[in-house]
Symmetry: C2
Subunit: 196 residues, 2 copies
DNA sequence: GTCTATACGCTGATAGAC
DNA sequence: GTCTATCAGCGTATAGAC
């Protein structure tokens, strides 16, 4: 069930229908404002099936989280493999994130705009997940290669991606009404050239 | 009941005890994982008092939100009044936010690290509140005065404050274990000089 | 204004037929 | 594996004494 790369919608298996319904509902109303009955209704399956497949509401969220995190990681990997310089790598990641915010809004919202800690017990925070670790590694490599000014890895990574992530939040909140890719060049310039 | 400026803890009135208890619980467990009974217990008041004062759980959250937003606004105003240039103004706001993250953690967490939309019905998003509007105005003034490179106000504001806000999130999540003020100079340099 | 006791709807979860 | 019917507990909110 490839979410990030899905292009056509075939008659999907049951567990995929459940995950898709849950994703949409969780993003629209928030995890705690969605009942298992809501998911069951929207996915056109019975409650029994949900418990058979995922063991409960939190099980759905956990499966969703792991799945989308994997696809996020694959996106990062693909960018790394097709890019040489660290700076260009950061830029392309931002470009991809901006695109995905437009084309796969709910996935971005669930990954970047959700307090997972409030309903995913035992999961480490998102910023400790492998895709984010990969982003910090890119920055660290860039600092080692003198492409990026030296500093604390967490701080430098936050400074590079923070503006873009903030824009994604604003866009997901409906505050910005233009597609993010239109701001790409401006954001990139701000990062590398500074705001002065 | 001055939260942001509170220095001593006197015998507080009932509604203040309720708000303080709710703030701590909401931040620690999340709004939906806290029951009115939890607040009642922690505040040492009865359920009846809570409903008399705030009308319910959402009423508590709404009162808390409005109150803290006001104090946030006062902080911004005080920075504006003591600063001349727009750039210096942005810097001082970041400095204050970093300080508050250390000294008034729960207030920062409730304001900046919470999805208010999931439980505050009818409230506009935080970024439309007056303090955030004031921050955008500072940036707009800076662009008009050629202190800040020109561009879309939302994008430029996100680029200036995005890195700092991201660091605050990471600090609140317990990912960064050093006090944020120690990173202030580095963050400021990244913003104005760029990362290259 | 404050408190205790209570009502009642909703939700997560299970049992058991098919 | 899928479904329906049902349960048990929690959590909001109210009623009414003090």
């Amino acid at each position: 069930m490839p979410y990030l790369n899905k292009t056509v919608s075939l008659p999907e298996p049951v567990d995929c229908r459940i995950l898709t319904a849950a994703l949409d509902l969780f993003v629209e109303h928030g995890f705690h404002n969605v009942s298992v009955h809501d998911v069951q209704k929207q996915a056109n399956v019975s409650i029994g099936s949900i418990y058979n497949h995922f063991g409960g509401k939190e099980g759905i969220a956990k499966a969703l989280y792991k799945h989308l995190l994997n696809e996020f990681q694959e996106m990062i990997d693909s960018v790394i493999s097709e890019t040489r310089s660290s700076r260009e790598c950061c830029n392309r990641i931002i470009a991809r994130l901006f695109e995905y915010t437009e084309t796969r809004r709910n996935i971005m919202a669930f990954l970047l705009h959700t307090k997972h800690r409030e309903f995913l017990s035992g999961e480490p925070p998102l910023c400790h997940s492998s895709p984010f670790a990969a982003m910090r590694k890119i920055v660290a490599d860039g600092m080692a290669a003198n492409e990026i000014r030296s500093g604390d890895p967490w701080v430098m990574t936050a400074s590079i991606f923070g503006g873009a992530i903030r824009l994604i939040h604003l866009r997901l909140d409906g505050v910005i009404d233009q597609p993010l890719p239109g701001y790409y060049q401006q954001v990139i310039d701000n990062i590398w050239k500074g705001m002065a």
